[in-house]
């Protein structure tokens, strides 16, 4: 399954374990949140890089104690119209300061990619359509932003203020 990262297509190097799967000898493993919650101490001791797949109705604050140990958090869009993961992403990035990889999976469609990136998502699990239809162009469609989010974009009103102050000082 292709992933989009940094506006390129890359392959997924993570093993995503089902709840009934034994733990293999892999370097990158994700667990479902339910399984992680039960066995976090045991898993934390594994030599692998770890990730958790969290449903969109679980508060991301529940992962706060684990963030240092996690390299990847996968958030879910069961339907693209269900926007709860946008808030989860922002809370993980902004409130909790998570610096690992934040991935969007589920019904991840072209016209939501920019919203997702702005909320702090770094990678996007997409289908073959993404390649055929060149979804990468979606990231460049809009470059004017009206509100702060989890990217480094300055909202328009801050740019205006900065410009006004510059003009004022050039007297």
């Amino acid at each position: 399954m292709p992933l989009i990262k940094n506006e390129r297509f890359v392959t997924d190097t993570w093993r995503h374990l089902a709840d009934d799967e034994g733990v293999p000898d892999a370097t990158r493993l994700t667990f479902s949140y339910a399984r992680w919650a039960e066995q976090r101490e045991a898993f934390a001791a594994l030599p692998a890089a770890l990730g958790v797949r969290i449903p969109n109705d679980v508060s991301p604050m529940k992962l706060a104690p684990d963030l240092a140990r996690l390299s990847l958090i996968v958030l879910s869009f069961p339907k693209f119209t269900d926007g709860r993961a946008y808030s989860q992403a922002r809370l993980l990035r902004g409130r909790l300061g998570f610096t690992g990889e934040l991935r969007a999976e589920g019904e991840v469609l072209r016209d939501q990619l920019l919203f997702m990136r702005r909320c702090g998502f770094e990678t996007f699990a997409v289908g073959e359509r993404a390649l055929a239809e060149n979804w990468l162009a979606a990231f460049r469609e809009i470059d004017v932003f009206y509100q702060p989010a989890e990217d480094s974009e300055l909202p328009v009103w801050r740019r205006r203020l900065a410009a006004a102050r510059r003009d004022f000082t050039v007297v």
């Binding site: 508060s59 693209f80 119209t81 269900d82 926007g83 709860r84 946008y86 808030s87 989860q88 922002r90 902004g94 409130r95 469609l109 016209d111 939501q112 920019l114 919203f115 997702m116 702005r118 909320c119 239809e133 469609e141 809009i142 470059d143 004017v144 932003f145 009206y146 509100q147 702060p148 989010a149 909202p155 328009v156 009103w157 740019r159 205006r160 203020l161 006004a164």
Partner: protein, 549 residues
């Protein structure tokens, strides 16, 4: 009014290009209807009974004459020569072709207009008092904040896929002309004990299947904190609003199920945890925005002169119009003119391209180039010198825009209903027409009477907050109308209560006549229908309406 700068122009150009590409992909079969529908809704494009319908945003109900002329052009070129002004101060065109919408949006962008977020599960048009900036009772002009909120809400990446739509309204005066209590968030500009102006924040209002009035979540918040506070409310809603049932997905349901106190706790906890620096509104930013909405020149205009008084005496039509459609302006010698789109027999809120151009011309010649919209589907010329009222009146009268019925019985508010709308269960326009014609002869005797008609449970006609409300329902293929009484959309907001079984379409006029008769008989000095209804109760009305049964 607000002027786009290079950022705004760039944004809207990019947005139009993005939409054009979405349409191309749809027409090429790359996007299914299920994928395209939310995208076209984010650009205000519905698929209705006869064609596509485009809902164009008129932010906080303020238009320039140039913009109004462009709407007239769009009406002629891409529609059937008219538009419909809505109860959320937007305009709708009902005969639109999908393949022409990219051109229409490009044309709108040229005059700093768009249809972004007039539908879909995100922020809708933020509306305001139509008399903002010129009202006598105003504490402060809400429009700079409307524009700040509009921008913050534009393509907000976290809140573009909410459980349901989100409507915000602002009032800068204690008299609520923006119906803020029926909004998801209502903001009142208030002065606190220290004399500082800030916002009272109300949350959880809405009509539809489950009408509820908004409650105060925060009695006062500083202007500086308004955006961060709004963001806190939205974040709670985005996470916890119901997504399992379309009819239980508005924030009003969340507030109802948590209770306002628990809702407040959740929001305050979230707000306290937020990084306020990012969203704090510095005074500079507010001052920058306020520059676009200057207070009117306080120089009084000439007092009513001989010519004015002569017309007032000679033409009782003019006198009635001044009495009914003209409101006091904060600057002496000026007036606020409501342009009635409610001549009995017309479709309420509809306006032809010619009428739009006429109003634009009047705005330019006599009205500082500005027009407003009201949630009662009328237009407003917010600043006219009183000595110009006679010439303005004559002009409006010729264009059938001067019916002296503002707030009277024949000025009915009605959604498009089953004649146009795919969601409707019954027609509303023909009922509005029959009622307006029937009541017009005695409407001055009746006094203020707000009749509101919705063609379905979604309540776009705001029937729950009409003095008399009518809801069209389908009973075995026949159109029936459920009557509610005692609703009100102002600062004494109230939800109407059902008076009895729904009546058949051909009994509506008769029923409303009887209700009016009872009201006239029982009312005490100065009472409008909601007060009389609260005092005497349902029974006198119910008895008369259902006497024969």
């Amino acid at each position: 009014m607000y002027q786009y700068d290079t950022y705004d122009q760039r944004f809207i150009g990019e947005r139009v290009a993005q939409y054009q590409d979405q349409v191309r992909r749809r027409l090429a079969g790359q996007l299914s209807e299920d994928e395209f529908r939310p995208l076209r809704l984010m650009n205000g494009l519905y698929l209705q009974l006869h064609a596509y319908m485009l809902r164009i945003a008129i932010p906080y109900g303020t238009l320039s004459s140039r913009q109004l002329r462009r709407l007239a052009y769009i009406a002629r070129r891409w529609d059937r020569g008219f538009g419909h002004f809505t109860t959320r101060t937007n305009i709708q065109f009902h005969w639109i072709k999908l393949e022409e919408t990219p051109d229409i949006l490009a044309s709108l962008a040229e005059v700093e207009m768009h249809s972004i977020q007039t539908s879909g599960n995100s922020f809708r048009n933020t509306t305001a008092d139509p008399f903002a900036g010129v009202a006598v009772d105003e504490i402060e002009d809400p429009r700079p904040y409307c524009e700040i909120i509009r921008q913050w809400a534009t393509l907000h990446p976290e809140f573009s896929f909410l459980p349901r739509k989100f409507k915000i309204a602002l009032s800068g005066a204690p008299n609520d002309r923006a119906a803020i209590k029926i909004h998801d968030i209502g903001l009142y500009l208030r002065r606190n004990a220290e004399g500082e102006v800030g916002f009272e924040v109300l949350v959880g209002g809405g009509l539809g299947r489950t009408p509820i009035l908004a409650q105060t979540i925060r009695p006062f918040i500083a202007k500086r904190d308004i955006l961060s506070y709004l963001e806190a409310i939205l974040r709670i809603y985005n996470q916890y609003g119901r997504r399992d049932n379309l009819f239980k997905a508005r924030i009003k349901i969340l507030v109802q199920s948590l209770g306002i106190d628990r809702m407040r706790e959740e929001v305050e906890v979230e707000w306290a945890a937020m990084d306020h620096a990012a969203l704090a509104l510095p005074e500079e930013a507010i001052a920058e925005m306020a520059r676009f909405f200057p207070a009117p020149d306080p120089t009084p205009a000439p007092a009513d002169d001989e010519a004015f008084r002569a017309v007032l005496e000679a033409e009782c039509g003019f006198a009635r119009w001044v009495e009914q459609n003209v409101a006091p302006h904060k600057v002496p010698g000026h007036a606020i003119v409501t342009v009635s789109l409610k001549e009995p027999g017309v479709t309420p809120g509809d306006c032809t391209a010619e009428q739009m151009e006429l109003v634009a011309d009047l705005a330019d010649r006599y009205g500082f180039g500005e027009i407003r919209l009201t949630h009662e589907q009328n237009l407003v010329l917010p600043q006219i010198r009183r000595i110009d009222l006679p010439v303005v009146w004559r002009s409006l009268k010729e264009a059938r825009l001067a019916t002296a019925n503002v707030a009277l019985a024949s000025a009915i508010i009605a959604c498009p209903g089953l004649d146009y709308c795919g969601l409707a269960t019954a027609r509303s326009i023909p009922v509005a027409q029959r009622l307006a014609i029937a009541l017009a002869p005695r409407e001055r005797e009746i006094g203020d009477l707000q009749i509101k008609i919705s063609g379905c449970i979604n309540a776009c006609g705001h029937h729950h907050v009409g003095h008399i409300g009518l809801l069209g329902v389908d009973k075995n293929g026949e159109e029936f109308y459920q009557i509610t009484l005692g609703g009100s959309a102002d600062e004494n907001a109230a939800l109407g209560t059902i008076v009895g079984p729904a009546v058949k379409s051909d009994e509506v006029v008769n029923s409303v006549d009887k209700i009016v008769d009872v009201y006239l008989k029982l009312r005490q000095e100065g009472e409008q229908l909601p007060e009389t209804y609260r005092r005497v109760g349902n029974k006198p009305f119910k008895d008369v309406l259902y006497a024969a049964h």
